[in-house]
Symmetry: C2
Subunit: 338 residues, 2 copies
DNA sequence: TTGTATGCGTTATCAT
DNA sequence: ATGATAACGCATACAA
């Protein structure tokens, strides 16, 4: 491997001069600078980032930890995060926790070992507290994504779940639905709690009663067993005329299960959910959603993280960015049958 | 930051002993090992990966370069690649080239600087040759994904485009279509060439004539301007009764444009494409596809890469993995109108 | 403007 | 079984 010493020898300067040509070109005479640059070119020199990181104590590496990169929400988040990172000269490492605390813990260790400059994290849930405290103890700057964790005070980018619930329930109530159920993720996830809270408040707003039999706590993950949803749907009597899903995965499960049971959507049951399905949902997406600004989640979250890294001031006040949701009406919702 | 020297001091051993406890525990007496481990625990020691990489000349970092992480094909590839990397103790950096050679070049520099152990790359096209030669010159192991590049001999994971084309055209011809058009990506991308070749061969197989007016060279990327497609569609006279799209993005454009022009799919024109739309295409996906095994692309590609890294033998024969495609019949294709 | 000495945190080598 | 020393490639502090 070619090092600054190899360059130095060939250019008849010291290694320090080579280092300066790279980092502070203006502090080197034009003549030697040209000569050194020429030798660097000839010898195909590429600076060793690891050696540089070791002495500078900054790696220009950031970590993005999501629960599943396959979910178009996180896919788009990743795109926004990578763009923002690249714009600021950072590279991105990534991992999938699969909503599992254990996997998350492994990635936390990876974050620590890799000496990345910071991390953008969608925590698996409230159980992430020890993981985040571990990062905090090691002074690794981090920003939370989509979910907050009670007990930890940090920058966070959230979606407005309360407003999203109001949009969803409001739309369904406006169509005339009065029995609106909710399939949710685990209540140990803050977004699920907010969504449930918003659902409850919105029901009240529209003069509907909250009935806990019409609320199911399931899982947000693609790999979660959907059979509890199936049983719940069978159990419901009378059937709700509309179902709100806590995220896109749950909506898919619900629609699939309803159809499998011979129930038409939206003819017999309307379905709407939080989160959108991304740009590849097809030319004519089906599900009515309260869409989150996924790209902004990633982009703004990354910028927040980089800001905090730059302002080494750990005492800088925490920022809490709340991104609005947008109701997008599609074909999975319709007025209830007479 | 806690270093092995801090641990050494507290445990009354040398730094080397601490290093041994971490890397070769069996070569340290049980007693001191326990003592050192206890101190490491107490002081919350985390090894510095960068320092380690510097001396060992291996980073346990791999780079995944795709053209767009938002495309469900690459999303799933990423998931497979990350899984395979994690299974083997590697972490993944990633970047999006957006089908742009310039962006790709920037990531190539990043790959070089970061001293990653290898890279899994979906090249932007044949123009990637210099970029790949640069990696080769610096002895960075790499594996190509989905596309090969003439002039470079390396491991590669490809989809069987010839077979995919046969499946698609065969299906349409079987339905009775005789005027089957093709919207393709840039012919400087190997997969586009193979798909076009397969299309041409399949037409012959099914006794149909190849007419270049019914073939358009557009772009695979989500950001490509779709207006050439629009003009092409308007120009076609008579209209084809079926259109094969070179990938999922093109299929989306075509379907959207046809509908915008008041043309029903599949009633008036059938549409089918290479690549699938992933697990979030909705509960009832619309488009008939020749699906690629995206997860396997990532997983097998990553394993190939890791194999090559381990067998430091650069002369090891290149592997060329060809993954089959699967025809999935859905609602975007139907018999032509009488 | 340029060079020397030193350290970043770790591991390999060789010694004890 | 354990330790002393050098080296990995680079940048900072200081000196010339």
């Amino acid at each position: 491997m070619v090092t600054i010493y190899d360059i130095a020898a060939r250019a008849n300067v010291s290694a320090m001069t080579v280092s300066r040509v790279i980092n502070r070109p203006e502090r080197v005479s034009a003549k030697t600078r040209e000569r050194v640059l020429k030798v660097m070119e000839e010898m195909h020199y590429v600076p060793n980032g690891m050696a540089r990181s070791l002495v500078l104590k900054e790696s220009k590496l950031l970590f993005l930890l999501v629960t599943d990169i396959r979910n178009p929400f996180f896919t788009t988040v990743a795109r926004g995060a990578e763009d923002a990172a690249a714009e600021n000269g950072f590279r991105l490492l990534f991992g999938n926790s699969d909503e599992s605390l254990d996997k998350e813990s492994e990635y936390i260790e990876a974050i620590l070992k890799a000496r990345v400059d910071g991390a953008l994290i969608a925590p698996s849930g409230d159980g992430s507290l020890p993981n985040l405290e571990r990062l905090r103890k090691h002074k690794v700057p981090f920003v939370l994504l989509d979910r907050e964790v009670p007990g930890i005070d940090c920058d966070v980018v959230l979606g407005d779940s309360i407003e999203g619930a109001r949009q969803l329930v409001g739309h369904l109530a406006g169509l005339g639905h009065r029995r609106i159920a909710l399939v949710n993720g685990s209540l140990s996830v803050s977004s699920a709690r907010y969504r449930q809270e918003g659902y409850r408040e919105a029901l009240k707003t529209y003069g509907l009663v909250y009935d806990e039999r019409y609320v199911l706590e399931a899982g947000f993950g693609l790999e979660h067993d959907p059979s509890p949803i199936e049983e719940w749907l069978k159990r419901l009597d009378p059937m709700p005329t509309a179902i709100v899903a806590g995220n896109n995965v749950l909506a898919m499960h619900v629609i699939r299960l309803l159809r499998a049971a011979g129930i038409d959507v939206p003819e017999q049951v309307s379905v709407a959910c939080f989160d959108d399905f991304g740009p590849f949902a097809g030319a004519d997406p089906f599900v009515t959603v309260a869409a989150q600004q996924a790209y902004q989640f990633g982009h703004a979250g990354m910028r927040l993280l980089i800001e905090r890294i730059r302002a080494r001031d750990g005492e800088r006040p925490r920022k809490r960015i709340m991104l609005p949701t947008a109701l997008i009406l599609r074909k999975s919702t319709a007025p209830p049958r007479a």
